[in-house]
Amino acid sequence: MIELSDIRKGFNQGRHNEFWALNGICLTVPARQVVAFFGPSGSGKTTLLTVVGCLARPTSGRVRLKEQDISGYPERFLTAIRRRTFGFIFQQFNLIRGLSAIDNIMLPAYPLGGEWRALRHRAESLLDSLRLGHRSAARVEWLSGGEQQRVAIARALINDPEVVIADEPTANLDTALSKEFLDILEALAGQGRTVLLTSHDPFVVESSVVQRVVTLRDGRIVGDN
């Protein structure tokens, strides 16, 4: 599904604070797998997610998505692919304040210009499936942390992506909510989606939902089971 060949990503190149986040990553992720990226902070987990999810280009190396080399694609195509294929759940949720939950969920589909009623219906059923239907009109800043995360999940799913990417999803959650999150992940995997997530939380990494753990250190893969 996703193939990374010798990916390197550097920042501030040529300057005194030059920094390489990824130092030669080679990775193949088949479809429908639930992969957790484990490692200390600074190991490049988040950067790896951005490269895999087409949020950023690698400094060198190739990215293949479903047998197609997308490394050289212009921004417009990358955005379209990202929109179609990937759904992101950010660590900070990154919901737009002042908008309602349902408006936030519908946002990623706006550029597609599809029929509004159908889109709204889809958003409402996503909210219902996450047991948030009663909060659909509430402003996101009034929701609790767990509710906000579920809105973030619904938003990631609005375009029916094949791959769901979550960055440190349980960092701001207690055990009960973390368990709930893993249940949702299990459901997503059951729907046939590929799930990639980063975590330094052993509770997540060691759970039965995660099928494969890739350990990173200093921008390199040091473990893969």
Partner: protein, 381 residues
């Protein structure tokens, strides 16, 4: 096409929620913007209509007026000049005019006293006058009322009002008092045989300048005022080059420039973050720019439409009431403007161009930089 329309609607959806999030600030901005458009449009509509009315109405003013000058001042003209003028070929009608000013201390207002030309159908038999509408309003006069004026000689004169000139004539007759010649001469102690000036008409309009030149030679102490000069005087009334109008225009242009620059100068941290999020969830650079463009366009378009409609109602449906304090100055009498609308499409288009475009474009400028940067910065929080 359907998709494009739907997409613009989605962008507007987001833009409106975005604007609603800072309601007070945006409503305040809209209010000021609308006010400026209102001022500019009011001035534009008012002055265009007034100039046109002046041109139409004063096209009927006398073709030639002959004034006598003494020591550089406009002085009385003797009746004997009428004969001298009569000998100039091409002069058709000539008549001595009698008119002057009267200051009413009760109202602190100036009136123009006039003797109507012979043959005009007004009842100004001795002791009776016809007054202008603004004067009647100011003094509180009705037909058959008696009014007293204090002559400069100290004598008190009383007259009965037989007619009040129609409201539609305010623009030219607001302060007029028409009376008979004997009354006029008695009131002002006007020397007999003298007139204020002489009005002429010529048989052939093309000979106007030649006749004026002949008159200048025949009557060296006089000057002529031609109708075309009268019309030219009023062509540039309220012109944009004149003091107050220029100040208003410059002020408005500065205000628009400030709005646009403030928008173009940069984004708040909040706005930057939002754009990053939008890009991360799948919006292209172009989508973000279009959305921001709508933000500017919606505000400026609303301001333009509201401002213009308000200006139209102000000028043509409520007699430009807001201009009164500015235009009235020291005068006490102020005409009620019932103008015939002149709507110049080109000027409206110019107003639209200066109002809507700069602001709409200005909102895009800072977005360009932010919208083009990589969205991965959002991941880092």
């Amino acid at each position: 096409m359907r998709t494009w329309i739907e997409k613009q609607k989605y962008l507007i959806d987001f833009t409106v929620s975005s604007l609603a999030r800072r309601k007070v600030k945006n409503l305040g901005l809209l209010a000021i913007y609308t006010l400026i458009v209102f001022l500019l449009a009011s001035v534009m509509l008012f002055t265009d209509s007034l100039r046109r009315e002046a041109a139409l109405v004063l096209a009927h003013s006398p073709e030639v007026i002959v004034q006598r000058m003494v020591a550089g001042r406009h002085d009385l003209i003797p009746g004997s000049y009428l004969d001298k003028i009569g000998s100039v070929r091409g002069v058709q009608k000539k008549e001595g005019r009698l008119w002057g000013y009267y200051y009413d201390p009760a109202l602190k207002a100036n009136y123009t006293f006039m003797v109507p030309p012979t043959g005009m159908a007004v009842d100004v038999a001795p002791g009776r006058i016809v007054v202008g509408p603004a004067l009647a309003r100011g003094v509180g006069l009705a037909v058959h009322d008696r009014v007293w004026f204090h002559a400069y000689t100290g004598k008190l004169f009383s007259f009965v009002v037989t007619e009040i000139l129609p409201g539609e004539s305010e623009l030219v007759a607001a302060d007029l008092v028409l009376m008979s010649e004997p009354d006029f001469r008695a009131f002002f102690d006007y020397p007999s045989g003298q007139y204020t000036d002489i009005a002429l008409s010529v048989a052939n309009p093309q000979e106007l300048h030649t006749i004026a030149a002949k008159l200048a030679i025949r009557l060296p102490d006089s000057r002529t005022i031609l109708r075309e000069e009268i019309l030219r005087t009023y062509e540039s009334i309220f012109n944009w080059r004149e003091g107050i109008v220029l100040a208003l225009l410059s002020g408005a242009i500065f205000a628009f420039a400030i709005f646009a620059l403030e928008k173009a100068a940069g984004l708040s941290a909040d706005e930057k973050r939002e754009i990053g999020i939008l890009k991360a969830i799948g919006w292209e650079t172009g989508d973000v720019i279009k959305m921001k463009f709508w933000e500017g366009a919606l505000i400026s378009l609303t301001a333009f439409l509201l401002g213009y409609v308000a200006a139209y109602l102000h000028v043509f449906r409520s007699s430009s009431g807001l201009f009164e304090p500015v235009l009235k100055g020291w005068s006490t009498l102020y005409p009620r403007f019932q103008l015939v609308p002149v709507v110049d499409g080109f000027q409206i288009a110019t107003l639209f161009f200066f109002t809507v475009f700069p602001y709409a474009i200005a909102t895009i400028v800072p977005i360009w930089r932010a919208a083009v940067t990589d969205p991965d910065s959002v991941m880092r929080g």
